[in-house]
Amino acid sequence: MSKELLNKQDIDRILARIAHEILEKNKGTGNLCLVGIQRGGVHLAGRLSKKIKEIEGNDIPVGSLDIAFYRDDLNIRTEQPAVRKTSVPCRIDDQKVVLVDDVLFTGRSIRAALDALMDIGRPANIQLAVLIDRGHRELPIKPDFVGKNIPTSMGEVVRVVLEEEGAKDTVTIE
């Protein structure tokens, strides 16, 4: 049984709000860059940068981060994760980096992403924006910007589908 939690319009409104929150907290776009975690986070980071441009009128750098080499489950998985592109188009040293992901769950991906970012440079600070926070954290990680908090049980699956992957925007739980 699958139930829709967010539709295209909901996602769009949430991203508009998060874009405003990012600008409010950082007092504009100075030294700001967005880095999305492969794959959903990359698309969301791209959309956020468009929203930010609509509001402030300037472009901010957007990067993509693949965390395959930093995962903590490489020893127990039965298959290596697919390796996707890491491309951070600016020096992140002394920049304010907003890490963007689709679903925040145990926090382990974020831990891996933090390590991956630290190997690329030394940001002034790192903030975390997520579309969905579904709880069940296993590490002390807390997002700065949350689209929607959704209480879930461990066994449920939250699926974020985005237009960039070829289907229509939707977030479902099953």
């Binding site: 930093y70 039965t78 290596q80 697919a82 390796v83 592109k85 190997d119």
Partner: protein, 307 residues
């Protein structure tokens, strides 16, 4: 998608989509190699032992660097300084290395099939770093990666391999790989070094450089292995260069944007002229850099195979 075996013994044993997986993964590692911090924690806590029963500098250092950049612990065993010199058998050596806790054994041996023998006797992942005149799979993988990087694809390209095919494990691995990817493979060299039997691999054979290089996209030069030339395969290295050396005049037969490759170490003035080796169409040093990324990809993917 994952590899089907714990070992990388040869290109012959790999499916095309397994090769594609390795090459795609390698491009992720190439990104890592461009950073200031060129190391990832992916294989932390695992151990690689490089077992080189035959001299090698470049392949061994490339593997060693790949291993270190994956955060593996690395041990180098060279035949001349180890118990092998005292008469220990190959299998006993490998069992001892395994007892030390090796997860990977990178093996180079002068006997074809040595890595295959080890793979049946140990549970560690065996990676063939060159066995006799059989295969050198990671060289073919890094060559394929370099061709894809420059030309976008391998399918449909005309690729000439020039030199001592009969003794070359690099040539064999490349032929297997390039045929799987739908390239036209031409072998060029004297009849003594490019025997008729090789035609069974679905390749074309030329004994004339100009004819063989006509409109090719890629020229892969092989090293004239002086240590294997005791059988009188050609009269002299000087004469070899006159007939089969890659010079600017001969390279003009290839396509305008053709690239030149060489697995190293090069013999300038024997198989390749310096103006070509150092020219703008030479990708010889790219091959060296790409070798690290490809070897990282192989080890990363093999680490995911659990029996």
């Amino acid at each position: 998608m994952k590899l089907s075996s714990k070992d990388l013994l040869g290109i012959k044993e790999l499916e095309k989509d397994e090769i594609t997986l390795i090459l795609d993964t390698a491009s992720g590692f190439k990104d890592v190699l461009k950073r200031d911090i060129k190391k990832v924690p992916a294989l932390r806590g695992k151990t690689a032992v490089n077992l080189f029963f035959e001299p090698s500098t470049r392949t061994r250092t490339s593997f060693e660097l790949a291993e270190k950049r994956l955060s593996l612990d690395v041990l180098n065993l060279a035949a001349t300084t180890s118990s092998v010199a005292k008469g220990e058998s190959l299998i006993d050596t490998s069992l001892n290395v395994q007892a030390l806790g090796a997860d990977f054994m990178v093996v180079r041996h002068s006997s074809s099939g040595a890595p295959h023998l080890l793979s049946r006797n140990v549970t560690a992942s065996i990676i063939n770093a060159g066995d006799g005149i059989n295969e050198h799979p990671t060289q073919a993988l890094l060559d394929a990666f370099t061709i894809q990087e420059r030309m976008g694809t391998i399918e449909g390209l005309k690729i000439a391999i020039v030199g001592d095919i009969v003794h070359s494990r690099v040539a064999k691995s490349n032929i297997y790989l390039l045929k799987k990817f739908g390239a036209e493979v031409r072998l060029i060299g004297p009849p003594t070094l490019v025997p008729e039997e090789i035609l069974s691999l679905g390749v074309k054979r030329y004994h004339d450089m100009e004819l063989g290089l006509d409109t090719v996209d890629v020229v892969m030069m092989l090293r004239i292995q002086k240590e294997r030339q005791t059988g009188g395969y050609f009269p002299s290295t000087l004469e070899y260069f006159r007939f089969w050396g890659l010079t600017s005049e001969r390279f003009a037969s290839a396509k305008k944007n053709a690239i030149v490759m060489h697995p190293g170490p090069m013999n300038r003035g024997i198989e390749i002229a310096s103006e070509i080796a150092d020219g703008s169409q030479s990708v010889i040093l790219d091959q060296v850099t790409n070798g690290i990324a490809v070897r990282m990809a192989v080890m990363f993917l093999l680490a995911g195979i659990r029996e």
